[in-house]
Symmetry: C2
Subunit: 380 residues, 2 copies
């Protein structure tokens, strides 16, 4: 076939530089613009983290107040968007609905220059603010319930749960939801973020670029890992089945979901945080069915892997699904919530791409048929 | 900044191999699966070309009949899609509407395996078939006119003009429209096709992947060149102004739109075909205002460039806008028509990507701030 060597999937190929996110895979640390994710989860909020990602530094109190005001006042979605959500075929995938709504929303914004990159997305922030509302409305309509008007006095995490449920969440639930969004807001180059940058490189709008990124996240090789963990939990069923299930699964050479991460040689730093949330929720809700299976499975799996000299540790997806489930969120909303959180990171990358842009246009190696004669239909 | 060398925009980096399209830039030739584009334009149809792109070979009469039947019967768009189009804000960009509708359409198809790549898109072909209807409906609603139900007895080009106008086009108009679609159906890797492949590499659906590709084509660095040529024609105004306009524009070191193509060292083979269509239309409609300016401008520009030893030739976009304009198509539909034609190529690349897939996940070079302390809000 090909005589030219190339790297499939661009593995190991540097496609750009970025000042947004540092992943220290050796030590299991993650930083947004130099700030450790542990600090941000403990001390910051999703809205402040979005500001940090988009404006490159932590806001002053006045800046945060102005930003939060803009952000929260942009959460409502108009009737035609509500109709789009209501009319979406019940069998359709909510990720493709989000992808669709995102580019549609572009029509409601006056882009400063026609066909240009200079839309005022850092001011309006509709992409990030409204995505939460779209997801909540999707769920409400699915349950045959009315649209819940977003509240401006609530954090992004609190308001999301409020819109989903139609009633205010408990403070600890709201805090955990908000921190889950912080934890997923950004993670360097990956297929969806790369997609956002490729589309942005044509100087398309941020709506169009984020919509495309949602499309990439929709694929099972990128998003959806925490849903697969939940399927695994259901299959295991009870903590007493863990060892027999694990032996069988390993004997069949099947993958244990939520274990290992390309970027981290040690345990994914986000998994510690998420495990803490799961402990807190399990205790407060008096429901440790997920926690007990996951804890036992991690221990059993680790000891078997250590014997083989294959260190494999839980990643963020190992625990996140159970956290969402204990917050009463249905499994098919896990990927949409990932998109909701990551939307901030995508936007930061789109803005960064435009600062020093070059159209992404790699080469393709042609290995197909040589020129041939066209045969008329009647002679085929 | 960076110590590591990398190629911005992945210029010159091979990102994959393909057996779909061969571009012979030295000799100015273009082949779809080995067939010269000149032959396809003269002897094939858009529907047969779509078959060729998707099924890798020319169809027999029976295969073409079955394919065409499926294709034409899938053209109609349901009421919720019509409503989406009708409700789209008048100031919005039709490309973002197409992007939105494309992923929304996914909800109407039963994908064979949940979250899988194995959707039956080669059978249903809604992506390609319905895009024409979406564009026509957009224009009809914009004019306050009703939806035109697609006709199954018309070629794709003829049916598109029929739906736009509400009446059947003349045979030569229909033929030219259909051949324009053949001419734009595929062109190797480029930003939108690369986007489609990146999204498809996560095993997202073809709807999701094509939607993302439309987003990339929406950007002015990728799509929209023929619209810029039309703006240039309006600016020049009359054939007598060509030389003075050209001198002024070159003195200001501004770009002449529609000239030069990254891939072709000689004249873009598609431009000869498109110029022929423009001659035919100009003659039959007795309107040579575009042709006369373009012919004069090409001659004057070429002689000035030849003096400088800079060979620059017209590309397909140099003539295509004028062809569409003489077919009565408004300028803002030029990019949507590009998407409509190219949709077939995108789908062929998506199917090819899935055959031997590896997730696209390049590396990113971090050049941002080193780890720093989080400062509490009140201390900022």
């Amino acid at each position: 076939m090909a005589e030219v060597e190339y790297s499939k999937g661009l593995e190991g190929v540097v496609a750009g530089e970025s000042v947004i996110c540092q992943i220290d895979g050796q030590n299991g640390k993650l930083f947004y613009r130099g700030y450790n994710i542990d600090d941000l989860v403990k001390k910051s909020t999703y809205e402040e983290t979005v500001y940090l990602l988009l404006f490159e530094q932590l806001p002053t109190a006045a800046e945060l107040a102005e930003f939060t005001g803009n952000f929260r006042s942009g959460r409502h979605i108009v009737t035609p968007i509500q109709d789009m959500i209501r009319n979406f075929p019940p069998g359709g995938d909510p990720m493709e609905l989000l992808q669709s709504v995102m580019s549609y929303l572009s029509g409601y914004v006056e882009h400063k220059i026609k066909h240009s990159a200079t839309c005022n997305c850092r001011q309006t922030l509709h992409q990030v603010a409204q995505l939460a509302t779209v997801i909540a409305a999707y769920q409400r309509f699915k349950e045959g319930k009315p649209y819940v008007v977003p509240r401006q006095d609530l954090s992004h995490g609190a308001n999301f749960l409020y819109m989903l449920r139609g009633e205010e969440p408990l403070p600890y639930e709201a805090a955990i939801m908000d921190k889950c969004l912080v934890l997923h807001a950004e993670h360097g180059f990956n297929t969806s973020t790369f997609t956002a940058r490729v589309v942005a490189s044509s100087l398309s709008t941020c709506y169009s670029s984020i919509s495309a990124a949602i499309g990439a996240l929709r694929g099972p090789l990128h998003g959806g890992a925490n849903e697969q963990v939940m399927d695994m939990l259901k299959e295991i069923g009870a903590v007493d089945n863990v060892d027999s299930w694990l032996d069988k699964t390993l004997a069949e050479k099947k993958k244990i979901m939520g274990m290992g991460h390309r970027e981290y040689k040690v345990k994914d730093p986000r998994s510690y945080v998420m495990e803490g949330f799961l402990r807190e929720l399990s205790e407060k809700k008096g429901d440790s069915r997920y926690l007990s299976i996951l804890t036992k499975l991690e221990k059993s799996f680790r000891s078997r892997m250590d014997e083989k000299g294959k260190p494999l540790y839980p990643n963020v997806d190992y625990f996140s699904g159970s956290v969402y489930a204990l917050l009463g969120i249905p499994q098919y909303l896990f990927s949409p919530i990932f998109a909701l959180a990551r939307c901030a990171g995508w936007l930061a990358h789109i803005l960064e791409q435009r600062k020093d842009n070059r159209l992404f246009r790699p080469e393709c190696l042609y290995t197909g048929p040589q020129p041939r004669e066209y045969t008329a239909l009647e002679k085929r």
